[in-house]
Symmetry: C2
Subunit: 345 residues, 2 copies
């Protein structure tokens, strides 16, 4: 074992015993990328993942407050509607993801302060994540972090993003249950993203449902869902429910938790959970492949051979395809025989 | 020389003598990609490029009509304002690019019909281009096609795109002079793209300037340009002029041609043209590198090794980084030593 691998192995052992500092270090290692993160991933992906919930929605929709309330609700355990069988969730971890922020770890992110309510609860772990050195960025770092949480025995992970940018929706939807939070009047502000959000949502929340326009927002969502079920999105028979909440006073949050549990039951019962997780792992693998190859292009672009080849192209002695072949010769097999479509052009 | 290379070489000779069928075949070769396109690029990039003009703008802005009028104006030669020195443009080629269309070549694209006015003029060559098999898509196929035009002696190429999608703006802006066409009232419809268009425009045209709102459109554009000169876009001292046209009756098109000539003079005088072309060639080279490596990921993803590695990841025997390393081992050097940031994570 390399020194880096030994370090992460002992940190994993400590974190599994409840050492929060060790867990925080592990997540910093994920963010930083590099050899230690590589060693950590090799260990973390051997263990089963936690159940993961993604929460996304426009800034100001009240996601943090909702997450805050949800933590309290979640701690009472998975609801078993009508059966009274409550299995406690002994730990919950929240990853608050902000692609635009250079801060992470100990940084206090605006209304993250609110979550400090849970700061003294040893069963709640809250952590913000931002882009650092991880190859492939947050789209790979966050799934890795979720696997680390699983590897240290955390049974439930909530991934919350600050907004609905492409990266944020991607990150939040790479979870078992994706919750999209809207507010009354959301239609106007998120017009452009509607289709994308519809595609990823397993559950819709209309937060601030005590404000005017909640009824219209629900009608709007239900109509969208009617249309999408006609066009048969690959939903495995699940129609995303619409839950109304007022996160500021906690109204509706129990209902949200029940719907999350219902969605989990749906996934587990039909074998959908396994298939969906396998599909996400394939996406991750492809992302890693692309990231490593793009990284290689960057390395190539920084070399002397590249400068020379580019100069030859600029001077008309070589075309870009010939230059590419020359530069990639050490790392890619030669161009296919004449007639092949996979060729250099 | 391979048979494919011999074919394209003789077609280049024929096209240079004015054989339009040979030229059409060469452009089809570019679109198709593969070995013949590769051989063609190797020859075409040896010759100097034509002067290229990109025309982009929202659908319905009147780009085709404008291009149609511009062809007539251009045929009178480059304007030499105040000097009366007119050098004829003996040939002009138009590439009408539609990323969403599967049609190309002989296909009649809506108002392309109008351009049939020039169909009998041997000095005008009009051709639509769409995505086919070219690795890297239109972003590489169009620059290749422009170089082919240069290689057969066409001195002026106009690249017109149907809309202002990301790919279309990219394609139209990979030219010496980029013309962005707007209409009165454009601000509302293109809000999201304004910044991107401002960045690429060398000349703004307000077409349909006889309609209400032309003055507001100009004020809007000039304000944007004022702001951008404060933020000092890398414009080499060029402030994009705003030209008003009514393409349907030809008003203002002479002025547009004068501004294109003025921009060309600016580029040539300061050595900017050479630098800009070198920069575009570097972009092309990077695109080719990325396209070839992504193509490699696709090939990998279609293989048995990939299926096996993915299965190992799904079963928790391997992590995505380990799987990636295994799959890339034949084509990429092993991971850097411990501590390196460029590592596998």
């Amino acid at each position: 074992l390399s020194p880096a691998a030994k370090d992460v192995e002992s940190q994993l052992t400590d974190a599994a015993k409840g050492d929060r500092v060790a867990l925080a270090r592990l997540l910093s290692t994920v963010e930083r990328g590099g050899e230690a993160a590589r060693a950590l991933a090799a260990l973390a992906y051997r263990e089963p993942p936690p159940y993961s919930i993604g929460i996304t929605g426009a800034p100001g929709a009240g996601k943090s407050t909702l997450t805050d309330r949800l933590i309290t609700t979640v701690r009472a355990g998975w609801p078993a509607e009508g059966e009274g069988d409550v299995e406690p969730v002994h730990q919950v971890a929240v990853l608050a993801v902000d692609p635009s922020s250079p801060f992470s770890g100990g940084a206090i992110l605006g209304d993250r302060v609110r979550m400090q309510d849970h700061a003294t609860d040893p069963s709640v772990f809250i952590r913000s994540m931002a882009t650092r050195g991880h190859l492939g960025g947050l789209a790979l770092a966050v799934p890795d972090a979720v696997r680390v949480l699983g590897a240290v025995g955390v049974p439930l992970a909530i991934v919350e993003t600050v907004g609905v940018g492409q990266m944020e929706v991607e990150v939040a939807s790479a979870t078992d249950t994706t919750v999209v939070v809207v507010t009354p009047g959301w239609g106007d502000s998120m017009q452009a993203n509607k289709a994308g959000l519809l595609e990823v949502a397993d559950i819709f929340v209309i937060n601030k449902a005590d404000r005017p326009g909640a009824r219209e927002a629900r009608r709007d969502l239900e109509q969208m869902l009617d249309l999408s079920s006609v066009s048969s999105l690959p939903r495995d028979g699940w129609r995303p429910p619409v839950v109304e909440t007022v996160a500021s006073d906690g109204a509706g949050v129990d209902r949200l938790w029940v719907e999350i549990a219902r969605h989990r039951g749906h996934l587990v019962a039909g074998g959908v959970l396994e298939r969906a997780r396998a599909g996400r792992l394939e996406q991750e693998l492809r992302r890693v492949l692309v990231a490593r190859l793009l990284h290689r292009v960057e390395e190539i672009g920084a070399g002397d051979d590249y400068r020379e080849a580019l100069q030859a192209v600029v001077e008309g002695r070589l075309d870009p395809y010939g230059a590419s072949e020359r530069l990639l010769a050490p790392v890619l097999p030669p161009a296919p025989p004449p007639g092949g479509r996979a060729g250099g052009s």
